[in-house]
Assembly symmetry: C2
Homo-oligomer: 238 residues x 2
């Protein structure tokens, strides 16, 4: 294991790493389905919504569309999926509420306890593509004890663009080497590592039904590989 | 009293409103003075350092110098004051440590308990000219339970420029009218109010030896005037 004694901040991917987006979106969809008699496969809907995430982000990263908040990208995808799944008759308020399901995701069972331990020694910051408002609302609801809400919106660049990582370290007043990026996605850690961050991979075996190709970690390139945040705290000696 | 039932976030000025900058700077100066046998009046030094604050900020606000972090503005002022007070022989590390005294200020006695009550119902965000790193370090040391660290650095505009307030509300995903600006300085509240924020003035009678002119509130223009954060929580019914 690498020497991580000079780490001062842990920066976290959120969707998939801290919270379980898939079961949260399914739960919110099913609740709406019951209320409005919409009989579709909400698991398939959740996967389709997440499936549009990277293609939409790519359009921003490539400059094809101007900077836009993740909430608005989620909404563009949602409008498209409502049509594709044949869901009609929802009011604007109902669609907006469904779009904000991403603000109401539940943490993985170990997340709050693990973060609470880690917060004793480290600055804990989000380094997420989520908006500040989304991450604040999620944290208030779920009890996530962040010290700072950072990432794409304040950097105005989406991960894995290097500016997202570099700006987050700069806001924390730290050299990237004093920041440990924590994520359940290999490409996020590769990008953070290329900016000088240390890296910790968290296995979130239940995030996907089928894990995307190329998202299996090359363990030798990572500083830490852990099962969950309890093991992360153990390994960091907190 | 105005109806404040639709307030969702409280945004706080920090220096003077949440923390007692004057006694903190004096304490850190006196500690350095004892260690290095520097016999000056550290209260006068603290007042002189704070006295350079608005003139330095004005240079940024007026575009005379490019955007620069508050830590660096503090350092420019500090270098000047070290010369003026005839303080020599400090190492770079010692000067940097003194400059970061602003990261180590103590909260007013009611602040942590009041914020902890207010956090139950409201999003609590900084809306300070301090840097993110400064505010995070201060919060970790003092136990200030912020939900988000916002303000000048993420807005890239110093208060009282309207962009600082507008960007903070936008990051929170809220209309300004759903944000209550809490400050011990009238001009800060006037500027926030002009952006549509609701306003709460906190008397911090010990912040200054002599309160600056024009910093006495026109009470009729404010939504709330309170003695401290305990009264603020009382008045908001938390």
């Amino acid at each position: 294991m690498a020497d991580l004694g000079d780490i001062r901040a842990l920066t976290f991917d959120v969707f998939g790493t801290v919270v379980d987006w898939r079961s949260g979106i399914i739960r919110e969809g099913e609740a709406l389905g019951r209320a409005k008699s919409i009989a579709i496969d909400w698991a398939r809907f959740a996967d389709a919504w997440r499936g549009l995430y990277q293609p939409m982000l790519s359009k921003v990263r490539d400059g094809e569309i101007a900077w836009i908040k993740l909430d608005d990208l989620h909404r563009m995808s949602l409008d498209r999926l409502l049509a594709e799944f044949g869901i009609a008759g929802l009011s604007e308020a109902e669609i907006d509420h469904l779009n904000r399901a991403w603000h109401r995701l539940d943490p993985w069972p170990d997340a709050v306890a693990g973060l609470t331990r880690l917060k004793r020694r480290y600055v804990l910051a989000t380094l997420s593509n989520g908006t500040v408002a989304l991450l604040v609302n999620m944290a208030k609801r779920a009890g996530l004890p962040w010290d700072a809400i950072l990432g794409a919106e304040v950097a105005r660049h989406y991960k894995p663009q290097p500016e997202a990582y570099r700006a987050t370290a700069a806001f924390l007043g730290l050299e990237p080497a004093r920041c440990l990026m924590v994520a359940a996605h290999y490409n996020d850690l590769v990008a953070a590592g290329a900016c000088g961050f240390r890296t910790a991979y968290v296995w979130r075996r239940d995030e996907f039904v089928v894990r995307p190709k190329n998202d299996l970690p090359a363990v030798h390139e990572l500083d830490l590989v852990v099962e969950d945040f309890a093991e992360l705290a153990d390994r960091l000696g907190v």
